[in-house]
Subunit: 443 residues, 2 copies
């Protein structure tokens, strides 16, 4: 028989148990936060008509998208994000959904980018959006949810940088550059990457005068915290569009503060432009103060024209996306991950195949008591079974030999402390495990 | 601007919030069961080298698989199940995993079957497998997990039918039909679908004598429960292979009983063949007694040669798959679903945009008390906001008007009973909600 080399495609990867447990824990915590805000899950297919996805996607997307003909010769593609499918979904089901519509989705997307370290062609996005609501309450709520999501997974030290797209629109208008706004925003978006001088150069290449380029750059360099910064920024906002945008930022700060957000984590930063064409209002990105080099781990903003591909009816929306893979990498870097490769607390170790029914009965009772319990299925040598537990990260072993079975007891071994309780009734073992588990949870 | 009709591909579907909440609940319960047995999650890519998937797949799979060339002109395909990727995964990572290896995976797979009612081209499978263990303890454990999974989601009335492939192999051998075994098994697998007469006909067409066809058919019609059935079946098992297989079934029953499985749910059924070529030992399928027409909602068995595509080293495995979509359809049919379309208990209803900061402060405190709380983001008319709550299924509304804000209070409305608590402190409202929630949980 011809053999095939077992391998994944370049840019794709497997997740082994330790990694997957970490990811499931994170998804569980994020889901809890999204639900706490009343956001409901939805699911769309991985595969869509190509036209649905590429219509608004631009050239870069067309290059990266996985696109092919299906069995019915339809032109289909794998989704490259969760936002375009949301626009399609809302347009298609709006009569069944009711507005405002608040949804989250945690799912995989595909981009055939050039493979590079830490970048994958299949990755997981966590999106949450509210469709159909114009007031700033919704902008504030999405920011509040980023804040709550990070706290929920145990990250405290982060900064959400916010800005208003119309502040930048107004700035361009002030310099008579309305028609260049998109280009200018795209260049400003590169500030952090290419530096001040290059940005100035590129602005001038795009037809902005040296004086305007300097003024625009100067403006975008303002950043600060809280209501004090808003006051300080007032003189900088000289036309209506700019003044109104600043006022909107103030209103959002007020709502955030009421909603329990620590404003020392909210930076107003006039350089945040979010390159994507579809943003129309307040925009934000989020960095971990302890690993800023990771870039933004959650970005978002208001987009008022997202469904225009499908419908002439305007449909305002606000949403954000959390990059799960980046977040996992960050947690690892911060040492906030757990090395266990098993969801089980206990491994049942049996010395003799004939004792397996007794072992299964003990396992059943442990599970009934809410203790995740794995049975080692083979009556292997003690050493081999304990080394399995050690490798996987079980915290307890329950040893079952002839004596234990005869006396209707078990021997409990705490694999962390080495402490051993010999031939105790199972109920006592359960009590000991539960007490230690409780102590660990509270610690 | 040219508009595009928002639509999903034929055979694909969206899940709206009510449906998705149901699915998430089910996945949560199944995951809890898999973890209770110490099975850990893994994740493999949706996309694989086509050769990885089709090597063992057979003609049907080749017709149904979504296969195309990627940007690097690699021959790639979307996975059509979770078992072949597991074989690839285990072969690739065996040094990092350690054996026995117990994993679960809940993920989507793709088959371009002809679209028909209730059949989708993208659907969700829940697989759990143990690789690297030969003893029957593992066969018993997988069956035990099917049993626990169904109890865990609130289904009591079901039957797991089990058989041993070598019982049928032995039967064929007894009639001198060793070389026809695969063909005979495939025909017997159709018994329920095409009936006794047709099976007899097909067996004869396949070269089985009339007498052997009658005898084989007669044998496969035996079924029954528990150790009594094993005793009764003894005279039917006349060669070593058959006698050993029956003994294995007895051993599994012993382990299941020790593991808390109600043996009245375990039927031994000599007709269960599981058409798939790769099974080599004990096999099973599961039907809900209240909707048997749904077919098997969980099937599995022992496969000892799964990794042979990738490695000459033999690697025994036992596993089962739960069809999530079928299970969801069954729960709906049994009336065991919940009509709520929101994960939030409470909707905050605000009468005046100026009160939004106060509303956000109340929402924050409710969430801190563990109560999922949605804010209606617009100061719409009361009627509109309550009709939104009614449509989504919130159980409480917290009304916030000028008086409430002035008195630092809220008005709580129980949307199920209509009962209203006017201008009470938020703490009292929280207490009332928690008390009612607790009553509902215990009911």
């Amino acid at each position: 028989m011809e053999r095939i080399k077992p391998r994944t495609l370049s840019g794709f990867r497997d997740r082994l148990p330790g990694d997957s447990l970490q990811k499931e824990r994170l998804i569980h915590q994020l889901t809890a936060t999204f639900r706490a805000f009343g956001f409901a899950p939805i699911e769309t297919p991985h595969l869509e008509y190509a036209e649905t996805l590429i219509h608004q996607g631009g050239e870069e997307i067309k290059k990266e998208i996985y696109r092919f003909q299906d069995h019915g010769e339809r032109d289909v593609a794998l989704r490259f994000d969760l936002t375009v499918p949301l626009a399609r979904f809302v347009s298609q089901h709006k009569n069944d959904l009711g507005l405002p519509f608040k949804r989250y989705a945690i799912a995989n997307v595909f981009r055939g980018e050039r493979a590079q370290a830490g970048r994958y062609r299949e990755f997981t996005q966590c999106d949450f959006d509210c469709i159909g609501s114009t007031p700033l309450t919704t902008d504030a709520e999405i920011i509040q949810m980023i804040h709550a999501s990070l706290l929920g997974i145990g990250i405290q030290n982060f900064t959400i940088s916010i800005n208003h797209r119309q502040l930048l629109d107004g700035l361009c208008a002030q310099h008579g550059l309305e028609s260049h706004t998109q280009t200018i925003l795209r260049i400003i978006d590169k500030l952090e990457k290419i530096g001040e001088e290059k940005v100035k150069e590129e602005l001038q290449k795009a037809g902005v005068s040296k004086a305007s380029a300097t003024a625009i750059l100067h403006f975008t360099q303002h950043q600060g915290f809280g209501f004090d910064f808003i006051e300080q920024a007032k003189p900088l906002c000289q036309n209506d569009s700019m003044a109104q945008s600043l006022e909107s930022l103030r209103e959002v700060l007020t709502l955030l503060e009421s909603g329990g957000v620590d404003l020392s984590r909210i930076k107003i930063d006039f350089s945040i432009a979010r390159g994507l064409g579809y943003y129309t209002g307040i925009v934000y990105e989020t960095k971990l103060n302890d690993c800023p080099e990771m870039g933004s781990i959650s970005s978002g903003g208001r987009y008022d024209n997202l469904t225009q591909t499908f419908s002439s009816e305007p449909m305002p929306g606000v949403g954000a996306s959390i990059g799960l893979d980046r977040l996992l990498a960050a947690l690892e870097k911060l040492g906030q991950t757990d090395s266990s490769q098993t969801p089980a607390d206990v491994l049942i170790v049996t010395f003799d195949a004939a004792l397996m029914p007794y072992a299964y009965a003990q396992a059943h009772q442990l599970r009934n008591a809410g203790i995740n319990t794995e049975t080692y299925p083979i009556a292997d040598k003690l050493k081999k079974q304990l080394s399995y537990a050690n490798r996987k990260g079980h915290r307890f072993a329950i040893l079952i030999g002839e004596d234990e079975a005869k006396e209707q007891s078990v021997t409990l071994k705490n694999l962390e402390s080495g402490e051993q309780h010999e031939k105790v009734p199972l109920d006592s073992a359960i009590e000991i495990i539960q007490t230690i588990n409780k102590e660990n949870t509270c610690a």
